[in-house]
Symmetry: C2
Subunit: 412 residues, 2 copies
Amino acid sequence: MKQWELQCSRCSAKLPFRYQDMKCTCGGTLLVSYDLNHVAQTFTKASLGQRYPSMWRYHELLPIHDPAHIVSLGEGWTPLLRLPDWESKLSLKRLWIKREEQNPTGSFKSRGFSVAVSLLKQAGATKAAVPSNGNAASALAAYAGRAGIQAFVFIPMDCPSLIVDECPMYGATTVLVDGFIHDAAAIIESGRKDQGWVNVGTLKEPGRVEGKKTMGLELAEQLDWTLPDVIIYPTGGGSGIIGMWKAFLELKTLGFISGDMPRFVCVQEEGCQPIVDGLMHSLGGTSAINTASTPVEERIIPNPTGMRVPNPPDLELLLSIIKQSGGTAIAVSKEQIAQATHSLGSEGISSSPEGAATWAAMLVLSDRGWLRPTDSVVLFNTSHAMKYAKLGASAAIPIIRTYDEFMLYRSI
Amino acid sequence: MKQWELQCSRCSAKLPFRYQDMKCTCGGTLLVSYDLNHVAQTFTKASLGQRYPSMWRYHELLPIHDPAHIVSLGEGWTPLLRLPDWESKLSLKRLWIKREEQNPTGSFKSRGFSVAVSLLKQAGATKAAVPSNGNAASALAAYAGRAGIQAFVFIPMDCPSLIVDECPMYGATTVLVDGFIHDAAAIIESGRKDQGWVNVGTLKEPGRVEGKKTMGLELAEQLDWTLPDVIIYPTGGGSGIIGMWKAFLELKTLGFISGDMPRFVCVQEEGCQPIVDGLMHSLGGTSAINTASTPVEERIIPNPTGMRVPNPPDLELLLSIIKQSGGTAIAVSKEQIAQATHSLGSEGISSSPEGAATWAAMLVLSDRGWLRPTDSVVLFNTSHAMKYAKLGASAAIPIIRTYDEFMLYRSI
């Protein structure tokens, strides 16, 4: 076989790469498949140990073969921070948080777009478009800028304004959409042929999942080629879950790791929780909130986050990963997220609402006994708090001129 | 000698560490001095090659010896990104930008406070205070949070509000000061004894310079133990310049590097440029703007950056480094900074005004022929653009519902 091709995640049909809808005729999602025998010739633990700390250290497991096509801004090899105080408080064996906000665009989306834009460059594409709740748009904008490719980003109008503002800063044509992310996607599909856009939306091309996959490869290497028991991950379209699952399967085939897969926990926000609802439904239950029966248009969450994706592109694949791994899905409230932001802040961590949601989910799962004292747990902080900031929050901060005024303020 | 002690950078007097004003009786600044023969026993290129990519890989050259005292949030080993297109445009041998915004608190200040707060922990201190134009305050807040130390931050009231807001998020007591950074410093000095604060302001304790020093150590290692010809660095208090200079001296003594020091270029913003003015004065000239004769209170720059430090704690040391290295100092305007932010954005880089100022300075120095075709140049991007963001910037972004509306907008 060639060094890589596309393969259906459901029926295993194989076909060569071209830009196309990533759906197989059977309805499954097409993912990149590598010749792992070929990969194994150079991809060894010893070789990796000598490589530069970047996600491109895993280049044999990424679909770009000519280094000249790699579009990099310094992504990956983000810190995995241990939180020993909370291990004691929650009776966990280990607790880590993966600091994905330290990527070049301030979010985990850097990884997917480094690969997706490299693929565009390899293919000679000149224009790309993405529908996004924010961070994917700014990541496309940045990587396309670096590559000299024109970016067009379509963002629901109620998304965080600071993230929206980043897109024109990176030179992207930026448009707000009066609707949801799937409405933005529909606009791109309408204009795709006329405009010559490649649609780089979630699971619309193969690069983003491969980029997200490096989170799993890194995690395994940072844990000295072992896997955690539980991964708690904020989930919208789900490409991160699919990517990490794929990473662990590839590492198993290559003989790098063995044993059980981590239990994957998908975290969503109450009010837009198709994965939680889908899991309940598939297990024969009904969701407490039961948004599945609520028309999409009525599932309004004000100030949405990256988790607000009413129609994940391959819900079936996500549910299959959750169930195979012994994982679960959980929705948390805005109040729980706000409290978690505060808790993570007190630990010195600037967390996005999505990252904070994984903390909130951890607390619930710990309370319920779903997390066990033998569990090592990894949370993903996908972005900085500041990207979601609003001005005026500091209105309560006192203004002083002297130490006496400080004392006066403290005594109130 | 002990593994480290304090040594005056001017008269070379040595004394043991305690928290004190870091001024020697001769007026020089006290810096950390190591027993480099002892360091050389374990600090080797081969050993470093095996270590984790964090600034703590250089632990022998940092003043913390018990790993239990290290307060880390995942700082250092930031990417060094090459900009080949601009090498051609400007006729430079090499051009890199060091992406310091990828540190845990979104700025280069993480490095200094990781060491400073570790020292506080080692010393058993429970309260620390800092005067800051923003990013130092949020870094103290974050690292103190991680360490369980109470942080008190004093910030001039016209500093960027999003950075101010980060401080209470990390749990710091946060106060705005109607004045400059030295007015904030005076308030801390007034309350220091009463409140039991350790003042961790610039050059008020030895840890921050040592942390900043790791930028120099990393740069040398990332360039395979060579040095660039020119370092262009945004300069306020100047501890980064002093730290990198110290890094290169230590590496020379250890035999890791040889040859000329890089020419250090200090970049400031027009209107508050004591280093530029000081250099002109010491060379017998007068500054075009001549702020040196303007009372400090009148040197108002609206929306100040970290470069607005009217009275650097050791201007003499900074000028000596600039002159010894064959470097220079340059002030750029707000308009030049805005234009540079745009240029860096088009390359996919989110730059703070301070980082953008280094780009603006590079263009001027290239125009003047001060930068030569044989020069390899490193710029420092010290923080993310978004930390300085203002709401309302996106007011001009169109809102659409359909592809037809997109076409309509495009045709206008």
